[in-house]
């Protein structure tokens, strides 16, 4: 067990070291002191408020990572999660403001709309794949940009709140019945005090639930088994009675449905938003791609990656006042990701070779034992 954890974290640790080295070099070249930078970064994140802000930021990242990981597990590269979520956020934000429902049902309604829209948009790529054999990478990339255009078009033409004049376009603000309360009480119960104005958004339990669901689906359910099988060997999966077309349709729908939830923490739990508009973050889907890669499609791995990502972003927020470019965070993130994907591949290949060699040795030992006395078939059932 311990060895497994050690092996699993070897590559990310190496990547982290490499990322720190690369960023330090970048800082040195640009005439900054890396030690000052990293000290300031540590001081920034070393507070309860920072931890809360990091978690808030990590939640949508986490959902974005899980969304694409579902597809990745089947070798379906859903590059289009970004389009799926902005379209879902727009329509869910608009629809949520149009209805009035009691609180829990209102939240559920917004969830349902977002999941449906995200899933359906992904389903376009799935349908094109199974009926017309269109590569999913290509179609989802195209659908991303179509979604960008469509969102701008729909917002401008139909869905923007007429009250907001001028250049900024927004959907109407959703009523408070569509708000998930913050978890500040929980923090207080745990004995921490938060500065006024800082909230732990209430979406966190949903994200945790999503991770648990994803884990169970993948490792305990027959669907997860079929999914992994289809990803690793589609021919064998077919012979084993898995319908590949059905798998593509379901998996991409699920991936899109989860992607549809990426915008929900902002719509349902962040008092600064509660609506879709020009200020809404629109690139988290792309970030999710990187996080799924970093977390190797595992629910825990993606969570760790999302927290690292958010931590770097939080940590670099106060660098500018001391004259260090805050963009060093992007270098940190980027080099971490790139070195990590390479390190994973190297470690995987070495592990595979080691496992194969060990098995060959173990089997060779078996060979030396005397052969079974009875005929091997004696116990075979008819």
């Amino acid at each position: 067990m311990f060895e497994r954890i050690w092996r699993g974290s070897l590559a990310p640790l190496a990547a982290a070291v490499a990322a720190i080295v690369i960023s330090s070099i970048a800082l040195l070249i640009s005439g900054n002191n890396p030690i000052d930078a990293f000290r300031e970064m540590w001081q920034t994140i070393d507070s309860t408020e920072s931890v809360v802000l990091i978690i808030n930021r990590a939640v949508p990242y986490y959902i974005a990572g899980v969304a694409v990981a579902i597809g990745f597990k089947m070798n379906l590269f859903n590059i289009g999660s970004n389009g799926q979520y902005i379209l879902a956020a727009l329509i869910a934000g608009w629809a949520g403001a149009e209805v009035s429902l009691p609180p829990p049902i209102h939240v559920a309604f917004v969830f349902l709309v977002a999941i449906t829209v995200g899933g359906t948009w992904a389903l376009i790529a799935a349908v094109l794949n199974v009926t017309r054999n269109v590569n999913v990478v290509i179609s989802t990339i195209m659908l991303n940009y179509i979604a960008f255009g469509l969102v701008a078009f729909l917002l401008n033409e139909f869905l923007a709140d007429d009250e907001t004049a001028g250049l900024v376009k927004n959907t109407k603000q959703m009523p408070s019945s569509a708000q998930i309360p913050s978890l500040n009480r929980l923090i207080e119960i745990l004995g921490f005090n938060l500065a006024p104005g800082v909230q732990l958004y209430g979406f966190l339990p949903f994200a945790i639930l999503l991770g648990v669901g994803y884990y169970v689906l993948l490792n305990r359910s027959r669907f997860g088994y079929d999914l992994k099988m289809s990803g690793l060997n589609p021919d064998a999966a077919r012979s084993a009675g898995v319908n590949p077309k059905k798998m593509v349709l379901i998996t991409l729908f699920m991936s899109g449905a989860v992607a549809g939830m990426i915008g929900l923490p902002f719509l349902l739990a962040d008092p600064n938003f509660q609506k879709y508009g020009d200020a809404f973050p629109v690139t988290i889907g792309f970030t999710g791609l990187g996080l799924a890669l970093l977390g190797r499609n595992s629910p825990v791995g993606i969570a760790a990656a999302a927290i690292v990502w958010a931590t770097i972003e939080r940590a670099t927020q106060r660098l500018a006042p001391i004259g260090i470019p805050q963009e060093i965070g992007r270098i940190l993130q980027g080099s971490f990701l790139l070195v990590a994907v390479i390190a994973y591949e190297v470690v995987r290949r070495r592990n595979d070779a080691a496992v194969a060699a060990a098995a060959a040795t173990a089997t060779a030992k078996l060979h030396r034992e005397p052969p079974p006395s009875s005929t091997p078939m004696a116990g075979a059932p008819a």
Partner: protein, 519 residues
Amino acid sequence: MSSTERDSAALLTRVPAIELRDIVKRFPGVVANDGVNLTVRAGSVHAIVGENGAGKSTLMKTLYGSHRPDEGTITVNGEPVTFSSPRDAIAAGIGMVFQHFMLAANFTVWENVVLGDEPGTKAALKPKPARARLRELGEEYGLDVDPDALVSDLGVGDKQRVEILKVLYRGAKILILDEPTAVLVPQEVDELFHSLRELTAQGATVIFISHKLDEVLQHADAITVIRQGRTVGEISDPSAVTPRDLAEMMVGSELPSPEIRGGKVSDIAELVLDDVTVTNPDGGRPLVEQVTLTVHQGEVVGIAGVEGNGQSELVHAILGLIAATGSISVAGRDITGLSTQQRRALGLGYIAEDRQKEGLVLPFTIWENAALGHQHQAPFGRGPWIDIAGARKRAAEIIDTFDVRTPGVEAPTFTMSGGNQQKLVVGREMTMEPSVLIASHPTRGVDVGAQALIWDVIRDSRENGMATLLISADLEELIGLSDRLLVMLRGRVVADLDPATVTPADLGSYMTGVRTEAQ
């Protein structure tokens, strides 16, 4: 002729074209070659035989510079050499035709041939001299192929010719062919050896690897037998040995025999195919045409045929993997409209022709593979869930019963040898107690021990009433195991024979359409 020329000519006949001494090649966990010796006379056709995994291909790759041996020496025409890449081997006049065609399908013939050794300057490719040279070589050795044809448009025989032309184009005098006849029909085999003779007549040396012992004895001037990475026999006069001698030398023991006479075939039909046709998606003749057949309980029906005559498609149609017209029923129940999953749940067992491509998920653990195809049924599945404990337990049983050699149920499947992988597949299918077994090449590429075990399994299950449809390229296996033998040619069943009376030679003539039988 001057005296020096005469001397060198004499030298050529005395000095072996190739001499390999004590070659050792290790891979992680395996010793593929463990002191192999090989001497090939110049101007001869030399066969190398041995079981799968005996180390033949490894040896040939060593000779072609694809990798370096860990120990041992290579001598070419009396000169010791070391090759660090195929380029060195090519420069020494050695060329290799691989088991899998090394051809870019979207390139023309001449592009494939000149690759790596292009005519013209660095700035401009000159196809003209290449075309001319190809035509010339084609005429000289009877290897006619249109230089401008796209390789994807060529048949297997033509592709093989392109492979040989590639080698000759580089001026190779020593040709290595790795299982060149595996994919050829008999006429093409004859043409191939005709061309090879043409080559040796002009001073070239040919080394080929083969599994088909008849063919080896018929065409080779000398034979080297390799077993478990070692040279175990050198035969300089093939006419003095029989295929059985050769086979026993390969295996190192008495050969198992697939014989099964006796027992009774019930008259209850278990698998019935009626007028099954699979159309060709690219147009043209159907891949499977109006196949009607019945397999009774306790019966093994063998299907013979040159590969690519619709056997795979027939199997896939029975399993519901490809669309077919006509009707298929199992135990009296029409399964035509059912999905693959439903068909398998009804008791259709399936041993796929290519275990790595279709039968197993190599990165999966052994218990995960033990559930493959049965994930919906006990003990592997429970409702929407996977029963991990049940699957592990069953996998352990399979390992025990079928003598699968592996460190344990949690080992990834890619760590096992081919024979053990196949035993896992067979064990998986048999423990589900199928009423019908579709066995495609069940002993392809496995060692003798596994082969004997698999034959035993099929025999015993037959005794217990299982209906088996056996597809195989191994004629001895077909004749030995089957109660009835059908021959498929161009998608149709063209003969229904009694294995008790038919000879492999007869079977061969039906398979190639030389003989036909009114249905």
